[in-house]
């Protein structure tokens, strides 16, 4: 089987110590958490680093889901399985459980982390779409302290994030709004565990039966997982209806930029962007109402 090129293994003992290591080693070092994206790439020699800094020991520091009145804070080392099994998250943002059920497979989910998924910045990555849908922000820590960026700022390009060589993503913050909230996620895949052909997340907030805010995030239809502000604008202030979902779907289909590959044709993906936008909005509204 394929094996990685030589590197030095360093073990992080705290976030600050990890940042210290990064500061010293610069771009020759890379953090590794679950490793299920990074290590296969290193085995196939598509990526090589002189140093790997194992941050699994930081799980005790960065593995948490905290429910606040204004926001939910999730530590970057929280593993997929913990996100899937969290009753708190399922209650507040059921989109997480929807998505986690279809991310990779149960064994990979024992190991993979929220932070690792976001930092991989794969355009087909599901948790990025979830976080985009929920208007999450990312807490990045470096020697100079912490900074907080939006998901749009976080994803600089495919496989490229705002996290600098000497920084570490520590936390995701998801705002809670004082309205009835509902969210959902749907993914079409060729087979369980495959990357998305297309997936979509939707979140709605209702007040008095009307949509006060709504967001849709799509994966696998462009260079990055994308939120579609035009959909939010079209939905706000309206009562949910099939016509409205149809409109949102049409906007999703024309706003995305998929390409044809072995997972499907661009036309099909555009169709799915429409179909899944409608489906997730419908479910999100049902959940907000219940």
């Amino acid at each position: 089987m394929q094996v990685p090129a030589p590197f030095e293994y360093e073990r992080a003992t705290s976030v600050d110590q990890a940042i210290g290591l990064l500061e010293r080693l610069g771009s020759s070092a890379r953090l590794v958490a679950g490793g299920h994206s990074l290590l296969p790439m290193m085995k196939l020699r598509l990526a090589n680093f002189e140093y790997l800094i194992d941050i699994n020991p930081l799980h005790s520091e960065l593995g948490y889901i905290r429910l606040g009145d204004d926001e939910v804070r999730i530590g970057a080392m929280t593993r997929h399985r913990e996100l899937l099994e969290s009753e708190i998250l399922a209650d507040v943002f059921p989109i997480f459980r929807d998505a986690e059920k279809v991310i990779a497979d149960p064994i990979v989910r024992n190991r993979g982390t929220l932070g690792g998924s976001l930092c991989q910045a794969d355009p087909s990555e599901d948790l990025s779409a979830v976080c985009t849908t929920l208007d999450a922000s990312c807490v990045i820590r470096g020697t100079a302290g912490e900074r907080v960026v939006t998901m749009e700022e976080f994803h600089v390009g495919p496989y490229e994030t705002a996290v600098q060589d000497n920084e570490i993503l520590t936390e995701i913050r998801i705002p809670r709004k004082n309205f009835r909230a509902g969210s959902a996620y749907a993914k079409v895949e060729r087979r369980a565990g495959d990357w998305a052909v297309v997936s979509a997340g939707a979140a709605v907030w209702l007040d008095d039966g009307r949509i006060v805010d709504a967001r849709v995030g799509l994966a696998a239809v462009g260079p990055n997982t994308t939120g579609i502000p035009e959909i939010s604008a079209a939905l706000r202030g309206n009562e949910p209806s099939e016509d409205l979902f149809q409109l949102a779907g049409a906007i999703a289909a024309r706003s995305c930029d998929p390409s044809t590959d072995t997972r499907g044709s661009a036309d099909y993906k555009r169709h799915l962007a429409d179909e899944l936008t409608r489906r997730t909005l419908r479910t999100a509204v049902e959940r907000a109402r219940s």
């Binding site: 089987m1 030589p6 997972r263 099909y268």
Partner: protein, 800 residues
Amino acid sequence: MTTVHEPSQAKITEFEDNDQKPVGFGRMLRKEDARLLRGRGRFVDDVQLPGMLHLAILRSPFAHATIVSIDTSAAEASPGVKAVVTGETLKGLGLAWMPTLSNDVQAVLATDKVRFQGQEVAFVVAEDRYKARDALELIDVEYDVLDPVVDVRKALEPDAPIIRTDLEGKTNNHVFDWETGDEAETDAVFARADVIVKEDIVYPRVHPAPMETCGSVADFDPVEGKLKLWSTTQAPHAHRTLYAIVAGLPEHKIQVIAPDIGGGFGNKVPIYPGYVLSIVGSIVTGKPVKWMEDRSENLISTGFARDYIMRAEIAATAEGKILGIRTNVLADHGAFNGTAAPVKYPAGFFGVFTGSYDLEAAHCKMTAVYTNKAPGGVAYACSFRITEAVYLVERIVDALAYELAMDPAELRLKNFIQPEQFPYATKTGWVYDSGDYEPTMRLAMEMAGYDELRKEQAEKRARGELMGIGISFFTEAVGAGPRKDMDILGLGMADGCELRIHPTGKAVVRLSVKTQGQGHETTFAQIIAEELGIPPDDIDVVHGDTDNTPFGLGTYGSRSTPVSGAAAALVARKVRDKAKLIASAMLEVSVADIDWVKGSFQVKGDPGKAVTIQEIAFKAHGAGDLPEGIEGGLEAQICYNPSNLTYPHGAYICVVDIDPGTAEVKVRRFIAVDDCGTRINPMIIEGQVHGGLTDGVGMALMEMISFDEDGNCLGASLMDYLIPTALEVPDWETGFTVTPSPHHPIGAKGIGESATVGSPPAIVNAVVDALKPFGIRHADMPLTPSRVWDAMRGQATPPI
């Protein structure tokens, strides 16, 4: 005669809970499981020898390119590297090319140019697998990239680049033309048909991808001049003979050992360059050398399967009587013709494409070509291309049903070969040994609740829901084969078997075939047990070691039970014949006065007077004289030459649901009724069927090795080459009928590949049936959501 049995399906919630020990046929737990369950199996990569080195292969990144130069100096200087070898070195040793199983040649390491992406270019031997892999990065190869032949339809165009410039005088990419049946008769039948249906049908390139990849450990002892080779081979004896021919080593100085094998499915039939390189590596370094390919290497360079583009036509009367089938096939054989099929059958057994139907005429014309893709063609439980043949006939029969607006079950029932017609000579020269198709079909329909399903479908269609019911009925041809017709590189396809009964009545049976998971250690013990009455646990089954087993051609094409199983039964009968002579002396009666009652000989009319096989064994080895002319000991050997193939059959019904919004296909139910003649171990048979059905879901819905226009393989990892998980398959519903083979000593037929052969058409027929409201008559595999969506919009395209 057919015996019809009720469904044997054990539901997931109800399971057998027993440890039966049948002395003969019946459900019996497997003997091999004890070690495999404890992690004590011994697979090739588990072999550790003192001083063993590791080999890694540098492969071509291009599909077609001239090798300008290779610089190995940096790799040679890399830490822990013991040897770096290129094609030039092999050329000096006369080892740069080797014969394929189809009388072509294949480069062991490329010398002139590379002909497919992933072709072997050089190798490194180093202290460990990490260092070997590191050194590959340091080999500097300069290539001059050539235009590749990727589109098989363009391979014979006059301006197509010539791939096999190594073959003297080769001016095109043509491999062979092949024809079967009678063209004039078939044309005449088509001329008077009421209905002719034509369809272009593609069976895409797929890969067996056993969970264990291919590999070997070569240990050449320069003092003894003996080579020991542990390798992932389904055919250890055939491999040994070929190594003798390729490497020039005397055959008695080569020992091929196939230890536990992690699945084969035909992937481990050919000899790959890697095996030969490990031998070269061991000879060069004087140390044992291990080569284990990684998954990408397995998928891009070893025996692929299928890759047939078929034009199928069927002719019938308006009432649905099928008159004839004709087909024109374009076969992609890759860069070297490495097809592992009997020599006289360049298209394998594709000639059985007339299926289970009584036709008046049939004809096939085939052209095979070279392309810049990996070699192979016959693999993945295909029964030598019967997968393609059955897919063709079962798809075109369904298309006919569509045109005639007839129920596809009814159409099939109307056209079956009738029981009294067996042995049945087909219009393409095959003689089906036995069959009784209607009871098998009726049982499948009854298990499925066929009429109810059609009602449910009608209701769902009215609501706009997409539900499909697909049928396939297949006849297989397995157990190659009679040596007058069948050989591989001149080696007749017979199998040997040796049986020795020890003094205490325990036994050892030595086989020429080799399990890759089929359970030979259990099944063959049961065959001997049935014949001799010795408990299976008292019978040791030895296989997979050329020094310790008789010659034979190995396990593929579902041939173990039809050929080697027959050998085992007959060798046991030989032992029994001798035992009878000894028994008659022990009982002091003439042989005419004793009867065999499983496990002992009894005096006729006096059952109390008897000797057991164990007592006879002790006598055979013991003190005192034996009857005149009888040698001591109780053992025999045999080489079995089958008189015909065996022809198992089956009826499969698949139910699918399609999400109209996303075009995702869900296989809801799958009913498989198989008839493999006499059933030795029903548990093992059911397991064989289940595995094959899962292959069918893979091929029908997701598996495909595809290429981009530059010839880059797009299915080079298990991330890209998708194999079904437990979530894509239903709980299998199985049943059986029994129509014994008249020429097999115990009436058994092969079962290993029936389900892989029979299931893809059932699934595709179900999907196409679900899409009937869209006016769809055909859509090609793999039926991924995107491709199904195309079909729903009337834009179905071939996958290549």
